[in-house]
């Protein structure tokens, strides 16, 4: 096992870059194997990057969101599954801060940093099969929850369940050791194959009082639901990373392997006038999406720093900006992962190259929630000054 320098604000980016380069080498193979991301999470732990967003006061690296999400992009360049897992993790490590008591905030930040805990979740509030029931001084949970991305390998596992007589879902976290949880091993999708987003069966799982988060509850301040917006921005960075990875691989293939077309009149594929044109198009759309997203990340960071003073109006306007970035990244990424093939040619469809994984991953993950409704929210804000409704997705 390699000895790794502990990450600091000075070197975390370089550590992530190295890790990404390591992951890219096995990406095609891991995509084919699908299954559990045990290896990936182990390497993330070793790298020390799991405490990236934990404030230095609690023993973490203390990066801002704007900095941390660039690392999501960096890892997604290698592999969309890792990007998603790591992005979710970063979000969840701040759950105590946003929705918890001050004791929870302190506890979760500190233990995450000290033990390099990996966080995962199955929050999806549209899935209502999980029931939570109070029992003495604790709770019991029974039922099924789907889309547990990375939960199987997580140290801290976050879920929502419904309690009779309570309108809003109850959000809680339990440690890996907690008994009664079984993975159903039903994640078999054509993209993001290495996220292991299984469903989980709960059998009388015990949940303690202090494992329940105060939220979601009818939001008394806008900050308590702000993580939903950050989650949208986090996905955007995964999309950007996948697209960047696709462009980089395509570029290498064109430079080394692709052949000139018979009527092109040029000696190398990299001289084909249309190939140059397509690469120009790919690059422009991707750079524009990245620039917009990075700009929006700054806005998100400022809003984050407003903490509980964030107003609903401010939250709504930030949401609109995040939606715009998400749409731009989705469009640019899908366009790129579809059309690179036209400049790569038939031989690039061989499975050994795995060029389809970029499209499969992006197509799968961009379906998380429909961008058309993000566009609608933007239009509704422009024309009718309405802010987006507050849901898990906005």
């Amino acid at each position: 096992m390699t000895v790794i320098e502990r990450p600091t604000l000075e070197n975390y980016a370089a550590i992530a870059r190295n890790l990404s380069q390591e992951f890219v080498e096995t990406a095609v193979e891991r995509d084919r194997a699908a299954g559990s991301p045990t290896l990936e999470i182990a390497r993330l732990k070793e790298s020390g990057l799991l405490s990236l967003l934990v404030p230095q006061a609690y023993g973490g690296i203390g990066a801002t969101w704007a900095e941390g999400l660039k690392i999501v992009q960096e890892l997604s360049k290698a592999d969309g599954s890792i990007g998603q897992l790591y992005g979710n993790h970063l979000n969840l490590t701040t759950l105590g801060h946003v929705s918890g008591t001050s004791a929870q905030k302190e506890q979760f930040y500190r233990e995450t940093a000290q033990q390099q805990l990996f966080w995962a979740n199955a929050i999806n509030t549209r899935d209502i099969r999980l029931a939570i029931v109070p029992e003495d001084d604790h709770f019991r949970v029974n039922g099924i929850k789907g889309f547990g991305t990375g939960v199987a390998v997580a140290d801290r596992r976050v879920f929502t369940a419904l309690q009779e007589g309570v309108d809003l879902p109850i959000l809680f976290v339990i440690p890996k050791e907690r008994e009664g949880l079984t993975a159903l091993h039903d994640w078999d999708n054509f993209g993001q194959r290495r996220t292991d987003s299984d469903s989980f069966q709960f059998q009388n799982v015990r949940v303690e009082q202090d494992e329940i988060f105060g939220h979601p509850e009818p939001p008394t301040h806008a900050f308590s639901t702000f993580l939903g917006i950050i989650a949208q921005l986090t996905k955007t960075y995964v999309y950007l990373g996948i697209a960047e990875g696709a462009l980089a691989s395509a570029q290498a293939y064109t430079q080394t392997t692709a052949k000139p077309w018979l009527t092109s009149g040029v000696n190398a594929a990299s001289q084909d006038p249309y190939t140059l044109h397509h690469y120009g198009e790919f690059w422009v759309s991707l750079q524009a999406a990245i620039a917009l997203t990075d700009q929006v990340a700054q806005v998100v960071q400022s809003a984050w720093e407003r903490d509980v003073s964030l107003t609903f109006e401010e939250r709504g306007v930030v949401a609109i900006k995040v939606f715009a970035a998400k749409v731009a990244a989705t469009r640019a990424g899908l366009d790129l992962t579809n059309h690179i093939f036209e400049v790569l040619g038939s031989r690039a469809t061989a499975n050994k190259y795995g060029f389809d994984r970029y499209w499969r991953d992006l197509r799968t993950f961009t379906l998380h929630d429909p961008v058309d409704y993000k566009l609608r929210d933007i239009g509704n804000w422009l024309l009718n000054s309405e802010l987006p409704a507050i849901t898990q997705y906005s």
């Binding site: 993209g191 579809n338 093939f341 469809t349 058309d372 409704y373």
Partner: protein
């Protein structure tokens, strides 16, 4: 040594008499083929039984000229049949592509004896495969396989990739350079010693085509089995456009399959999105908008496919420089728009269906994988070039099987 797969029990093919019958039979077969489509893709299973049914139906013989007993259907019909089968299973739709190419080659450049001999085999239901393309060469026209004079016959040596249909073929036509460096086609029976076909096709799409490698080592070929293919491109013939319209028809078939599955899935499974107060996903106005757009693009591709068939038919009646150029250009237009439509439809399928549609059990990504693989046969970007050059500068497109 020859690796042979069992082609099963086969009966003599039915002889189709006209265009109408061809289309009716294609529809019947399609209804059957569509059932196992997803399964064959998932397991990369060669459609042996299906291809037997397909060739026994007589559809592999519909382009044989009337004077040799065939129906000689129009190219509009040829495209329609290919489209119908490809919508059901685009691998099956693609497999006869090269068979039909060879029938056209024999019609154009075979001698009387060859026509009698091979057309009779075709009408009986015998199938041609393909060993055309090579790998590791400078470009697609750089052919390393050689057909060398040897006594009163020839000896053939080479290595071919992308041999779609060869595994299931009775005869394998091999493109080679002869001693004069002209491109010819040597038609070799599958059991000939020295011929070896390997199913090593590993692309992510068109998985059930078994388009693999053919190794040819010192194969003996009699003179009567060699077609002087180069002549098809020395004068104006429909060889190129016929090759291309079949390609375009496969792409349109893929687009139609994606649209079919979109309609089915969205109508039956897609939930309404939470931000809109609707009972059913299929009422969403944005979904309807997008589906309308896909329908229109797919219909535009179908309409240009039919139009290009009409151009080829006209060129067939009177093949001149200009009529053949017009046919080539019309087919290039159809192929370009078919590629766009198939990519659009296979992407929108998933966008409109939603996350659940990415489950492997539905296997709905196969349409994108098929579209993305098959549309790369020859690059779209140079189609636009050819069309532009023809309309702007009056330059006829080059004559080769890619236009």
């Amino acid at each position: 040594m020859t690796s042979l797969i069992d082609l099963g029990t086969r009966t003599k093919a039915h002889v189709i008499k006209d265009d109408q019958e061809a289309i009716a039979i294609a529809k019947e077969l399609a209804a059957e083929f569509v059932k196992g489509d997803s399964d064959r893709d998932r397991h990369r299973r060669l459609p042996v039984e299906e291809i037997n049914k397909y060739s026994e139906s007589g559809l592999w013989g519909i382009t044989v000229p009337k004077e040799y007993g065939g129906a000689f259907v129009s190219n509009v019909t040829l495209a329609e049949v290919t489209k119908i089968i490809s919508e059901a299973d685009s691998s099956i739709g693609q497999i006869p592509q090269n068979h039909l190419y060879i029938v056209e080659s024999i019609r154009l450049d075979g001698n009387e004896e060859q026509k009698k001999f091979f057309f009779d085999l075709v009408l009986q239901g015998k199938r041609f495969g393909n060993a055309f393309s090579e790998i590791g060469t400078k470009s697609v026209v750089d052919v390393q396989t050689r057909l060398a004079r040897s006594g009163d016959g020839y000896v053939l040596n080479g290595r071919k990739f992308y041999s779609t249909g060869a595994l299931l073929a009775d005869w394998i036509p091999v493109v080679a350079k002869n001693d004069d460096d002209n491109t010819v086609i040597a038609i070799v029976e599958r059991s000939t010693p020295g011929l070896n076909v390997i199913n090593d096709w590993s692309s992510f799409g068109q998985r059930a085509t078994g388009s693999g490698t053919t190794i040819i080592e010192n194969v003996q070929v009699p003179e009567s089995h060699v077609i002087p293919q180069y002549r098809a491109f020395e004068r104006p013939t429909t060889q190129g456009p016929v090759a291309q319209i079949i390609q375009a028809a496969v792409d349109v078939g893929i687009a139609k399959a994606a649209l079919r599955d979109t309609l089915f899935y969205v109508r039956n499974y897609t939930r309404p999105w939470i931000d809109v107060e609707l009972e059913h996903g299929y009422e969403d106005p944005l979904t309807l908008y997008n589906i309308g757009n896909v329908v229109i693009q797919v219909h535009a591709a179908e309409a240009l496919l039919r139009r290009s068939g009409e151009y080829i038919d006209r060129a067939n009646e009177n093949p001149t420089d200009i009529s053949v150029a017009e046919a080539s250009i019309a087919v290039a237009e159809a192929k370009a728009i078919a590629a766009e439509a198939s990519i659009l439809a296979s992407n929108k399928l998933l966008e409109l269906a939603g996350t659940k549609a990415t489950l492997e059990e539905y296997n709905l990504d196969r349409h994108w994988r098929n579209a993305r693989t098959h549309t790369l046969h020859d690059p779209e970007r140079w189609k636009y070039y050819a069309v532009g050059n023809f309309y702007l500068n009056g330059v006829n497109p080059p004559r080769h099987p890619w236009l």
